[in-house]
Structures are given as structure tokens and as C-alpha cells.
């Protein structure tokens, strides 16, 4: 049942997106490198780049690219 709930919550998130203001895809791309470095530096990236988190929750493509860039930069620094 819990899995059922989670599946439907995910569906609702895909349909309704995140509440509040968010960046556009272009703004997300412009800020992505800075955002990732802030995250890796332990800074409050969401505070410093407002609207990024909401966009990453709403846009699957930008979300994947965020995860990829963070993983790549992390791997390079390891």
C-alpha cells in the first residue's frame, strides 16, 4: 500500500510540479555550474539560487543533468 501511495504521489508531482516560483530551463542551465559547486562546497545552494530547486523538481531533463554534473565534478575531485 505504501508503494501505491508513493507511486501516486510521484504521479501527482509529475502532473502538478512544485509549488512556488521556479527558474526557466535556460536560467537553470545558466546557473547549473554555480549551483553544483555551491552544493559541493556545503553552501545553501537553494537559498543562493532561488527557484532552482523547484525547477529541478519539475523538469526531469534538467534534473538528470544536475545529477550528472554533480556526479562528474564529484568524481573528478575524488
Amino acid at each position: 500500500m505504501r508503494e501505491n501511495h508513493e507511486a501516486h504521489d510521484q504521479l501527482l508531482r509529475r502532473l502538478l510540479g512544485a509549488p512556488g516560483p521556479e527558474l526557466t530551463c535556460e536560467q537553470c542551465f545558466d546557473e547549473l555550474d554555480r549551483y553544483v559547486e555551491l552544493e559541493l562546497a556545503g553552501a545553501d545552494a537553494d537559498q543562493l539560487v532561488p527557484g532552482m530547486r523547484a525547477h529541478l523538481e519539475g523538469c526531469p531533463a534538467c534534473h538528470e543533468e544536475h545529477l550528472s554534473l554533480r556526479a562528474l565534478v564529484q568524481a573528478e575531485r575524488a
Binding site: 501527482l12 510540479g17 556526479a71 565534478v73 568524481a75
Partner: protein
């Protein structure tokens, strides 16, 4: 190969706003400065720098392909190598063309990597959809089964999902509905739609964004208390 006029480090530094990637004197970190110096030079030094940049981008493309390898069983090794090379080539053109837009808000390599990750991701998303028809109408609305452990919560979800379905039918334009259904219900990657419809990711995402805002307004007006969507996981 397409190249771009490269701003000198001195000229670039004057344009750079204060940033976490700059030191207290507003100077780029040494590695980023070295990249810009080399790419801004002439002759053999510049050619060498472009060669190193291409190697870096190719490494980024291969990293992305390796991350997605498990979901790409239908692609042969040779095809993946081609995608990596094409991605690095396309990203190199983009990076050189936009070099004067680098503001030092991150390290140069982080900035450059995002271009090749975008190129590789878009190509990899599109490849499985070549020659396939796009599902633009709902293939199915998922069945919400009864929840015996928490019937109330289950009923609320069922009701909300039904209200969303209805609002999509009555409130959205045909274009908004088509795009939202394809992406959110049928799992079509936005980059595949971009290619088929001859538009941009930004324009399509705006359609999705506007549709979602319309749905949220309708649901709230109908008395549904929409909790803030929880993060899908920071995956830190």
C-alpha cells in the same frame, strides 16, 4: 572547426561580478585562468588548448554514457562511441562560441562540462525514440487501489487524482494537455518532443509550467489543499 573570438583574461576579469569562484581580489582561480589564457592565445598554444578541451569534453560525454549504460542495452558499443564523439564535438563548438559568457561563477571545467552533459543526455534520450510514434493521448490513468491500512488517505488520493484528470480535460488547452500527458503520464522525454515539434526545451517546459499552474489554481479553487510537493530526493 568553428571558433570564437576569445576575450582576454584581463578584459574578462573586469566584467566578472564578485562570486564564490573568484578570490577576494576578484581574480579567477588559477586553473580557470590558465584555461582562458590558453584558449585566448594564438597559434599552436591555442590549438593545444582546444585539443585538451576536447579531451575533457570527451571524458564528460563518456561519463554520462557510462551512467546511463544500463538503460541503453539496445545500443552497441560503436554507437555509444559515436555519440560520445559527437557530443564532445558539439559541446566544443558551444563552449568556444560562448567563452566570453563565462563569468567565473564556477570553475571553468565545471562550466564546460555542463555543455557536454547536455549534448550527450539529449542524444541519448532521443535515440530510443527514433522511428517511434509519440503517445500524445493518455495510454492509461493508473488505477488507484483501495488502501486497507489507511482507507481515508487512499480515498483522498483517489479523489485528488480524479480531480486532476477532470481539470486536465476541462481547463487545459489541447496543446497543454497533449504536452503534459506525453511528458507526465506517458514518459516521453521532453527533448524528444522538442525534436518532433521543432521547438525548444524552454518553450515546451513553459507550456508544462503554465498547464500545471492552471491545474493548481483550479484544484485550489475547488477546495483541494495541495500540500507543497515534497522534494523527490536531494540525492546528495
Amino acid at each position: 572547426m568553428k571558433t570564437a573570438r576569445v576575450a582576454t583574461v584581463g578584459a574578462l576579469s573586469r566584467l566578472l561580478p564578485p562570486s564564490s569562484a573568484l578570490d577576494h581580489a576578484g581574480v579567477l582561480d588559477a586553473d580557470s585562468r590558465a584555461w582562458l589564457d590558453a584558449l585566448g592565445s594564438e597559434g599552436h598554444a591555442r590549438e593545444q588548448a582546444i585539443g585538451r578541451l576536447h579531451e575533457l569534453l570527451l571524458r564528460g560525454a563518456r561519463f554520462e554514457i557510462a551512467r546511463r549504460r544500463a538503460s541503453l542495452p539496445h545500443l552497441a558499443r560503436g554507437e555509444l562511441d559515436d555519440i560520445a564523439m559527437q557530443s564532445a564535438n558539439d559541446a566544443l563548438v558551444a563552449v568556444l562560441a560562448k567563452l566570453d559568457q563565462f563569468r567565473g561563477h564556477s570553475r571553468f571545467t565545471t562550466w564546460a562540462y555542463k555543455f557536454v552533459l547536455l549534448e550527450a543526455a539529449v542524444k541519448l534520450r532521443r535515440r530510443p525514440w527514433h522511428g517511434r510514434e509519440l503517445p500524445l493521448e493518455p495510454e492509461r490513468w493508473p488505477h488507484v487501489s483501495d488502501d486497507t491500512t489507511s482507507p481515508h488517505a487512499g480515498a483522498e488520493r483517489t479523489q485528488l487524482l480524479e480531480a486532476v484528470r477532470l481539470a486536465m480535460e476541462t481547463e487545459l488547452t489541447p496543446h497543454q494537455r497533449e504536452i503534459l500527458v506525453a511528458v507526465a503520464l506517458n514518459g516521453v522525454p521532453i527533448d524528444v518532443l522538442v525534436e518532433r515539434l521543432g521547438t525548444t526545451r524552454g518553450a515546451l517546459y513553459k507550456t508544462i509550467h503554465d498547464a500545471r499552474r492552471k491545474l493548481r489554481r483550479t484544484l485550489e479553487a475547488d477546495g483541494y489543499a495541495l500540500e507543497p510537493a515534497p522534494p523527490r530526493g536531494r540525492e546528495r
